[in-house]
Symmetry: C2
Subunit: 418 residues, 2 copies
């Protein structure tokens, strides 16, 4: 197979379909989503059979247990996939919404209409449910999509693709609206991220290394989600019990997630009040502590922290702790070491809270809440295609709106420029 | 001078200043803008003296009359520069605005706060007033800026920079907030568009060639303004007098601007009613007409149009005309040939107007108005750093809001994820 030619032809077909889906009525898009959900449930046994091929190949190729687990489809996961599609069908349609339509002195009315981006390219790994999920978010937001899953999930992804195509056709929409790349040749990714004519934005989902590589090589704009080095700062004016609760939750609720706390900053004036209790709680959970000198005077079990720790996303039961003088030192630490994902202050001081909210330059900034809330569902977006650590276009959890743009609309009555 | 080292050091200084301007109060930012305006007026004679050096060098280097005119500073233009700064000071401050702050079922309040992008890099040519104008838009939106003007305006730009630095200092803000690159070495542009650590977005202002080159080489996101191949479609259901008025204005009000009409599409059913009158009006203005076969049967003076004409931004008194069957054929022509800048339909048919608004994928879509209205001032943005033909981030005229982003803010009362 000539990969370049295959991708170019795919791009052409998807671009043509994008014009149709962009103007499709809400009713049709929802009908397609529901039809795909039905088809996925009806095809359960075929999906499991195709998935088994991937799992067997994965075992042969020595994939580790965690990867094999993510790759597996079972009846529960298939039902969850269908349920996810139905939830997206139930969300309000963002497309066509007109805002801020106002009369100008010239007599024209000017407003902004929300429109699809066009064609979204999504690059992801292992979990076959992403195929259904990403397709649904693109469809609902009026976009066409080129999906490129990992080679380890090729049979599962193609089986899901068949359901998507059948559902689209059933609703009277072009099957080409969602293309799941059929080749496992890596050159396909290289083509996808350079097809400016056919692709409007790339959303890579995966590890930091993959995303950095894609961002560096892409000619198409990329919505990036790099690392989450999230901080909780416990201010001197914090409610100590609340501080312990939040710092405990932010670290131990789940370890392998981007919105888990990786560094705890504690004001000197409250350190002796909160650190011993937190130390005991973390010890129960087996969390390894790495602390600055002042931390280690309170928590003798903490190992010495290194500069490297401040910029490491552990994604593991490890926590770096630093005692700071005040909110200024905490914000300076964050400005220097944070990845700009999510930071939270625990305080009852109005002015500190206001300053933290305004001055901390991260995609989510919180007062008296666990960093674990940084999530599209918790924020009420109804769905999430990823979390952006970029500043341009979309920042923080990206739902349907992040896959749209706004054009200006002008309603006149014959006005001309004088 | 080591250009790489110079630009890296500039980047570091501007990044540090960006943290200060991001949290500067509205009052301080406005004070700086007004102080810069005063300084520019007070320095009139110095500005004219420095500008004369550029003009003399320009004459020596054989710049053409149009370029020399754009380069010139005179008392009127200096007064206009100062007035522009005062107008930007009078605009509402977009920074810190919180929208959509709502309670979620978990008990947290989630909203979005408008924040600066950080450091804006602007690359432009000849007109020294852009130095003041771009600096002012960046300052007001809480951003620091690295400005890189053309080498032909180096003395003028440095003289304006001195006024900017003096005004910033007077208001108690760091002079480093706005850096006007001091070297004319072209390598500085190459550095600027690759300094991802220090620059958040690049706004190039200039010809399509310059912008395409920058976009292709940049590692920093670019807000692009490519060409404006704008269409007016006169529908069969148009008011013929209105159609003539709009099509005449869209072409002849100004020729060298991106929102001028370059192609006129006319429905077959109304062509004989509007084209003869339009032909006579265009002839009076010396507009050269290039038409399809059907056009030439009505307007014998029109030359035959070529495929090349449909994708050419004339920026000149030339107009391509095509007779089409209906709104579908018009929209198909636009989808194939438009640069996605601005299109207008003239019609009194409700359904055609609604379809055109929804289906045409351009940054501005109009009904019964001249394409010449596609402009930040006409749209009420109060200012304009450029017009984006991108879909990502900002589309259409870009004012202060286009230089900002939104972060999520979460207000809790001790909530944790269960």
């Amino acid at each position: 197979m000539n990969v370049e030619q295959y991708m170019q032809e795919t791009g052409q077909r998807v671009r043509a379909a994008a014009r149709v889906i962009a103007r499709a009525e809400t009713k049709m898009k929802n009908a397609a989503l529901l039809a795909i959900a039905d088809r996925i449930e009806a095809d359960e046994s075929r999906l499991i059979k195709e998935n088994r091929q991937d799992l067997e190949a994965g075992v042969k190729n020595g994939l580790d247990a965690a990867l094999l687990d993510r790759l597996e489809l079972n009846p529960d996961r298939i039902a969850a996939m269908a349920e996810g599609l139905r939830q997206i069908a139930a969300l309000p349609d963002p497309i066509g919404e007109i805002t801020d339509l106002n009369y100008r002195p010239s007599g024209i009315q000017v407003g902004r209409m929300r429109v699809p981006l066009g064609v979204i390219g999504i690059i992801y790994e292992s979990r076959p449910n992403v195929t259904a999920d990403a397709a649904a978010l693109c469809l609902k937001s009026g976009n066409a999509a080129i999906l490129r899953g990992g080679s380890e999930a090729i049979h599962s992804n193609q089986a899901v693709a068949a359901c998507i195509h059948a559902g689209l056709k059933e609703a009277g929409l072009p099957a080409e609206t969602v293309q799941v790349v059929e080749t496992t040749d890596r050159a396909a990714v290289g083509e996808l991220i350079r097809m400016q004519r056919y692709v409007d934005v790339i959303v890579p989902r995966g590890g930091k290394g993959l995303i950095e590589r894609i961002a560096n090589e892409a000619r198409v704009p990329v919505i990036k989600h790099l690392d989450g080095i999230c901080h909780v700062y416990v201010d001197e004016a914090a409610d100590a019990a609340m501080a312990v609760r939040i710092a405990y939750n932010a670290k131990t609720h789940r370890y392998g997630v981007c919105n888990a706390m990786e560094t705890l900053l504690v004001a000197r004036g409250i350190a002796e009040q909160v650190l011993p209790e937190l130390g005991a709680l973390y010890a129960e959970e087996g969390v390894e502590l790495r602390g600055c000198e002042a931390t280690r005077q309170i928590l003798s079990q903490a190992r010495p922290v290194t500069e490297e720790d401040w910029v490491t996303e552990y994604l593991a039961p490890i926590l770096a702790i630093r005692v700071v003088a005040d909110v200024d030192e905490a914000m300076a630490h964050i400005a220097e070491h944070s990845s700009g994902h999510t930071e939270s202050i625990v305080t009852n001081d109005y002015r500190c809270a206001q300053r933290f909210l305004r001055e901390v330059d991260s995609s989510s900034v919180m007062v008296n809440a666990s960093t674990r809330f940084a999530d599209g569902f918790e924020y009420g977006l109804g769905a999430e295609i990823g979390i952006s650590t970029d500043k341009i276009h979309a920042r923080g959890p990206v739902g349907l709106e992040g896959l749209t743009s706004q054009k200006y609309v002008v309603l006149g009555d014959g006005q001309i420029r004088e």
